[in-house]
């Protein structure tokens, strides 16, 4: 099949069943060269199974995936040569030194012998593992091991990078570093990255695929999807004020959005506002509290959980979406 050369990855009705369970159900999408695409979904949505089929670790029950035009079922080696894959729990050989491991993996992936040293050096530099190349992998911190695994995924200059939950199990500092690293990779590579954390995908990706219960629920550019998700944003405020007066003032500021005021202990009031698209009354709310001398202890926009994202996207009960 002759495919569009600008398309680096084409998933074509990918389906995977384990016994009677359908883990991935008829998933199709395309990724163009230079894109950074996020695959978002809660645990058990079928992200890892989809990525494993793309990486050739699992065979699809039906459908196919093509990497730079090479089918993962008909030309698995050709497809894998063009792919750099970081599995969810990137496991390395603890008895090898980091540099030795990267040279081994480069040779395994067919990097010509004369180029191995240069490629290992470049990948190590990019992933910041140069200082630990001579150390045993078993002695490295989890963050460093993750970077060595990422350097491994890059070492043969793949056309497509597939990263499965690359920040899973890292501490916040390591997560920030990993995110910066992935963003810098994106300048030179096409990347497909999976995550169950919405802000992570929002921060790094151009486009997002949302998977739920094995199905592709939605796909689109991140800003569009974010706008869709944040169309109905909820503002939460805790303030000490007389209830009726508070309700009247806030309703005026909310511009027609639904307002609920509930008393809390010690005269505190909790205000919840369903603001309309594009509306953010937080500065006005803060100014109101200051003007009236009402003590304000909390004012925030509620971040949507993934489940709420699904609600926002489908307008349905997320548990009823897939089937």
């Amino acid at each position: 099949m002759v495919s569009d050369p600008s398309i680096i990855l084409e998933a074509d009705h990918l389906t995977r069943r384990f016994g009677r369970v359908t883990a991935v159900d008829d998933v199709s999408f395309q990724i163009r060269r230079g894109e950074i695409v996020g695959m978002l979904g809660p645990n058990g949505a079928g992200k890892t199974t989809t990525l494993r089929m793309i990486a050739g670790f699992l065979c699809p029950t039906a459908g196919d995936a093509r990497i730079a035009g090479r089918s993962v079922t008909d030309d698995p080696l050709g497809a894998r040569r063009r792919l750099g894959y970081l599995p969810e729990h990137a496991a390395l050989y603890p008895d090898m030194r980091a540099g030795e491991y990267l040279r081994f993996r480069a040779a395994l992936k067919g990097v010509p012998r004369a180029r191995i040293a240069a490629r290992v050096d470049e990948a190590a530099e990019l992933c910041g593992v140069r200082p630990v190349l001579r150390r045993l992998i078993g002695e490295l911190s989890k963050g460093y091991r993750q970077r060595v695994a990422l350097a491994d995924a890059l070492v043969h200059e793949p056309e497509l990078l597939v990263l499965d939950e690359p920040t899973l199990g890292l501490d916040p500092n390591q997560i920030r570093q990993a995110r910066d690293l992935i963003r810098s990779l994106a300048e030179r590579h096409t990347v497909l990255i999976s995550s169950h954390i919405l802000p992570e995908i929002e921060m790094t990706c151009h486009r997002v695929l949302i998977l739920h219960r094995g199905r592709l629920l939605a796909e689109g550019p991140v800003p569009e999807l974010a706008a869709q998700i944040h169309r109905r944003r909820r503002i939460m405020m805790q303030v000490r004020a007389p209830r009726d007066e508070l309700l009247r003032e806030v309703t005026r500021l909310a511009g027609g959005g639904n307002v609920v005021v509930e008393p809390l202990p010690e005269d505190w009031m909790e205000v919840r506002i369903e603001a309309r698209a594009g509306d953010d009354p937080r500065p006005e709310l803060a100014a109101l509290a200051a003007r009236r001398g009402w003590p304000l202890r909390e004012l925030r926009r509620e971040e949507l959980s993934l489940e709420q994202v699904f609600l926002a996207l489908t307008g349905a009960d997320p548990r009823g979406v897939a089937r």
Partner: protein, 247 residues
């Protein structure tokens, strides 16, 4: 084979760094050496009493290899499954056959390295005991060919068991069961009266094969059986790896 050489180098390094491999080699040499000592001592006491001695030595060797082969092979795939490196390995652009080849070749090379010191036993014996070393070249060559063929077959069974089982211990137990099954299959026709039972037994029994070879009688039919069986076991291992993509 694509990727075969780097994989083989990696497997050999892993073997050289594994304490188990050295322990197995030491125990193997100790037991085989003791067997050799017993054989020499009983021949010295009764120079014409060699009837049955060759069979006894063959049994000693077979039981030693039946214990050594599972210990050498049980970790080869089971450890990759346990640690998760199997996924990294199988998503590299290499065929499962290359992985099987590399792991098998490394185990076989270690086994040959374990056998090598026994070549010194003849010269050591003549130096220590002023006895003439065993000089029948056909018998010596036959014994080594037999040890290599049977060892190669047992290692292939062990590798297969390691590919099937997710835990090292289970892989080791399965390998022991497979090897024991094969060892005792040679007895069945002798025990179970059939019309041509003893002839069938002679064809199946590794003890008969090994005893014949170490007397210098080289029956190529038995050699072909071991080579074919080994190839089949390796092919089955390759299929197990492929099956894991579909399971």
């Amino acid at each position: 084979m694509n990727g075969g050489l780097p994989l083989l180098r990696r497997e050999l390094n892993a073997c050289l760094l594994s304490p188990t491999a050295y322990l197995v080699a030491a125990l193997f040499l100790l037991v085989a050496g003791a067997g050799f000592w017993v054989a020499v001592a009983s021949l010295a006491a009764q120079p014409d009493g060699s009837v049955g001695l060759v069979e006894l030595s063959a049994w000693m060797f077979l039981l030693t290899i039946a214990a050594a082969a599972p210990l050498l092979t049980m970790r080869l795939f089971a450890e990759e499954y346990r640690s998760g490196t199997f996924e990294t390995l199988m998503t590299a652009p290499v065929r499962p056959a290359a992985v099987v080849f590399a792991k098998y070749a490394a185990a076989l090379l270690w086994y040959l390295a374990m056998l090598a010191p026994t070549l010194l036993w003849g010269p050591i014996l003549s130096a220590v005991a002023a006895l003439p070393p065993p000089t029948d070249p056909a018998a010596i060559a036959g014994a080594y060919v037999g040890a290599i063929l049977i060892g190669a077959w047992c290692l292939a069974l062990g590798l297969f068991a390691s590919a099937v089982m997710r835990s090292q211990v289970a892989a080791g137990l399965l390998a022991v069961a497979l090897i024991a099954g094969w060892l005792f299959a040679g007895w069945v026709p002798f025990l179970w009266p059939l019309r041509h039972g003893d002839r069938l037994g002679t064809w199946l029994s590794p003890v008969v094969h090994l005893a014949d070879w170490s007397r210098g009688i080289f029956d190529s039919r038995a050699a072909v059986v071991y080579l074919v069986n080994t190839t089949l076991a390796l092919f089955a291992t390759d299929r197990v790896l492929e099956w894991r993509r579909w399971r």
